[in-house]
């Protein structure tokens, strides 16, 4: 197999595995801030025990996230040396900024939060949980900046055989940074809400720690509904509009629009085929895509046939990942909306079917994150930096394919083991339950 393809596979495995964990930690950390706030301000032991309980889940997830994140930091150099040389003047900065401005904060205060209980005042303890959440959220910002610059590069000029920075502000706030940032961080909130809701539902189903679990569930369904509504509108909507404007090839691919047309329809359901590209069994709403993308039901939308074949991203994977993400996004609104209705009617605690549904829904937001990431990154192909550098020109020239293959095998085995252990330990931690209340 050729080295570029192997390098891509390696990258997909390492990011794909890593990206399981950050949405959980970012979302969970904000819910933790709310729990610890209640515990501190109301001097309420139930909230405080809830914080400590979910804090343990956060610590375990954070550790795996950090461990796999280190690989990301170095992989641009090991596998994508030509890329790193060509865009290093711009791309390295957000990674360094992430370390200086965010990651120190997050990991330093996580230590203080986990081990500081009893050593520092309760206010300071709450503050450290806040700093963990703030650090995680700033960290996401710089990573999204780096990735968005690959999608919609700005603030640079090609000079001395490489891309050189001309405006840091323009590079940081490139056209896709903010739409993608809000969309991603809000997705993390949805993820965190489903983790808390699922765990609380599990405790309720076993009639354990009911007072604690009820409050946690209440918090999670309310946050979950707000976050999953916002994920569709405004965040998802504006992100899609931005893609339509700035990356028309990607937009056509994810929407399955293979021929340019006015009054372009949205495919609610379809089976995509690639040779030739077409949708079969499609259920479509005419004009809706034109309206959603450009605010006019008659607006022309560019289809795949508009672009030279060498610039077209893979069609099947982008369509399937994007559409399944959207389906899950709608499901999150319905699931959390149902929860809020039950809550208002005072029936949330006894609907066992609904509680079971929540338990089984825990992994779904993570799946949605992975699907969204797949649509975004595969949709960017064949470019590593859209319009500037092709993925095929970006890989390291000195790393033999055999070495990459060997490390793919090694890391896959390691990740499978880690993923399985993480899951087992998370389940055990939940089964173990919150620390009992002091008599």
């Amino acid at each position: 197999m050729d080295a570029v393809l192997l390098a891509r596979i390696q990258f997909a495995i390492t990011v794909g595995f890593h990206f399981i964990f950050p949405p959980i930690t970012i979302g969970l950390s904000w819910l933790l801030v709310a729990m610890e706030w209640q515990g501190w301000r109301r001097n309420d032991e139930t909230w405080a025990r809830m914080g400590a309980f979910f804090g343990k889940l956060l610590a375990l997830t954070f550790a795996v996230g950090v461990a796999t994140g280190v690989v990301m930091e170095f992989q641009f150099g090991t596998n994508w040396a030509e890329y790193s040389k060509y865009v290093g003047d711009i791309f390295g900065a957000p990674l360094a900024a992430e370390g200086v401005l965010a990651f120190f904060l997050e990991s330093g205060f996580l230590g203080l939060y986990l081990f500081g209980r009893g050593r520092i005042s309760r206010g300071a303890h709450w503050f450290s949980s806040l700093m963990v959440a703030v650090g995680a959220t700033i960290s996401a910002f710089w990573i999204i900046v780096a990735n968005s610059w690959q999608q919609t590069p700005a603030g640079f000029v090609v000079r001395n055989g490489r891309a050189e920075l001309t405006s840091f502000a323009a590079a940081v706030f490139n056209p896709s940074t903010l739409p993608r940032y809000f969309h991603t961080v809000d997705a993390a909130l949805v993820t965190g809400a489903f983790v808390v809701a699922g765990v609380a539902a599990w405790l309720l189903l076993r009639a354990r720690e009911e007072a604690l679990a009820q409050r946690a569930l209440q918090l999670a369904v309310v946050v979950g509904l707000l976050a999953s509504l916002a994920e569709i509108f405004p965040f998802g909507h504006f992100h899609a509009q931005q893609v339509a404007r700035t990356q028309p090839e990607k937009f056509a691919a994810i929407e399955g629009l293979y021929a340019s047309q006015t009054s372009a329809p949205i495919a609610l359901f379809a089976l995509p085929f690639t040779k030739p590209p077409q949708l079969k069994a499609a259920v479509e709403i005419p004009g809706l895509l034109s309206w959603m993308a450009f605010g006019d039901v008659n607006a022309p939308v560019k289809g795949i046939d508009e672009f030279p074949p060498e610039n077209v991203p893979p069609l099947w994977l982008t369509f399937v990942s994007f559409h399944n993400m959207v389906v899950l996004g709608v499901y999150f609104v319905l699931a959390m909306g149902w929860g809020v209705i039950l809550l208002v009617r005072g029936k949330l605690w006894e609907r066992r079917r609904y509680l079971k549904l929540l338990v089984w829904s825990i992994p779904l937001p993570v799946a949605a994150c992975e699907l969204g990431w797949t649509a975004a990154e595969v949709g960017r192909q064949p470019w590593i930096v859209y319009g500037l550098l092709r993925t095929s020109d970006a890989a390291s020239r000195t790393v033999p394919a055999g070495n990459i293959l060997a490390t793919i095998v090694l890391f896959s085995a390691l990740y499978l083991a880690l993923g399985a252990l993480w899951l087992v330990l998370m389940v055990r931690e939940v089964e173990h339950g919150p620390r009992p209340a002091q008599a």
Partner: protein
């Protein structure tokens, strides 16, 4: 001082910060294998528990800073050292998770497994860092396009291994000295004795590695003669090496740990002063080296990043200091311990 030199110094500071901070927890990671019972072992682990995560961020940030300031070095060295770096990454992953996983089950076999994973991965990471420094000082064989391709075994030459062992001795000494601050009674006395013995090993390795440098990296000693930074680092290094055993003898453990920190910083400073203005010396032709000028980012990027560093790093140092202050004193096992 020009911008490129400032960034040479800043990357140096980040990597020195990493060596001093993660240095002791790598050392403790190896030493905990020799703990006599479970309680002792948990004291070892909890002595570094609240801080090891933050310590590792220094490496991540150092890597990020290297990428931002000297992207050609980041790209060339990391792709050239592909397998060695992957080995380090596996070690760092295992280290991070074994710390978190070990305490989650009570079974002795489970704990033994993660103990070994933690100890060995700490050892491998320490050794490879030293081996990397040795290879750097020895010079690296660039091809005509300025690329590097060195297999894992190409890195394992005798000189680099010697520097690797020096690194192991140094971090073990550093870890044992740190433990004298965190332990009490008989365990502390044992750690103090161990730190003294490791000091002997470190000094022996230091002399051997210096002699090795004469043979394998002669270029280090050529040049216009010793500069002020070289002399300052040499004086600090010798002073710290002298003070450390005396402080241990006098039971002045804080001073001993400080001496160990200074020794590490001065040792890295010496290597950096020898390299400057090169970042990666080329062999056999030194003229092909990657320097802070031919491998750097544009002045605009270096300036922007300098502003970020000047705003961010004082904050980082301030709250890191606060966190260390909160966790100062002896390690006591409690409900929230690992």
């Amino acid at each position: 001082m020009d911008l490129n030199t400032v960034w040479f110094a800043l990357v140096g500071v980040l990597l020195t910060g990493y060596a001093i901070l993660d240095g002791f927890d790598l050392g403790v990671g190896v030493l905990h294998l020799f703990a006599r019972d479970e309680a002792e072992r948990r004291i070892h682990l909890n002595a570094i528990g609240p801080v090891w995560d933050g310590n590792e961020v220094w490496l991540l940030t150092g890597g990020g800073a290297l990428f931002a300031a000297f992207p050609v070095v980041y790209a060339t060295v990391f792709s050239g050292f592909y397998l060695a770096l992957m080995l380090v990454l596996v070690a760092l992953i295992l280290r991070a998770v074994s710390f978190e996983f070990r305490g989650k089950m009570a079974s002795p076999a489970w704990r033994r497994t993660w103990d070994w994973a933690f100890g060995l991965s700490s050892l491998v990471a320490t050794l490879v860092f030293g081996v990397a420094v040795g290879n750097l000082l020895r010079g690296l064989p660039f091809d005509a396009d300025g690329n590097l391709a060195i297999g894992l075994f190409g890195l394992l030459n005798p000189y680099a291994l010697l520097v690797g062992l020096l690194g192991v001795a140094m971090f073990l000494m550093h870890g044992a000295t740190y433990l004298t601050l965190k332990t009490e009674g008989a365990l502390r006395d044992r750690m103090a004795k161990l730190a003294g013995d490791l000091w002997v090993a470190y000094v022996v390795m230091f002399v051997l590695a210096t002699l090795g440098t004469f043979v394998a990296a002669r270029w280090v000693f050529r040049g216009p003669g010793p500069t002020v930074p070289t002399l300052a680092c040499a004086v600090l290094l010798l002073g710290a090496e002298f003070v450390l055993p005396l402080a241990l003898r006098d039971r002045r453990y804080g001073r001993a740990f400080l001496a160990s920190c200074v020794a590490i910083a001065a040792q890295i400073g010496l290597a950096a002063a020898a390299l400057y203005p090169r970042l990666v010396p080329a062999r056999p032709d030194l003229a092909r080296s990657l320097t802070i000028y031919n491998a750097s980012s544009s002045p605009r990027t270096l300036t922007t990043m300098l502003v970020i560093a000047l705003v961010g790093m004082p904050l980082v140092i301030a709250y890191t200091a606060v966190i260390y202050r909160v966790f100062r004193g002896k390690t006591v096992l409690g409900e929230h311990s690992y």
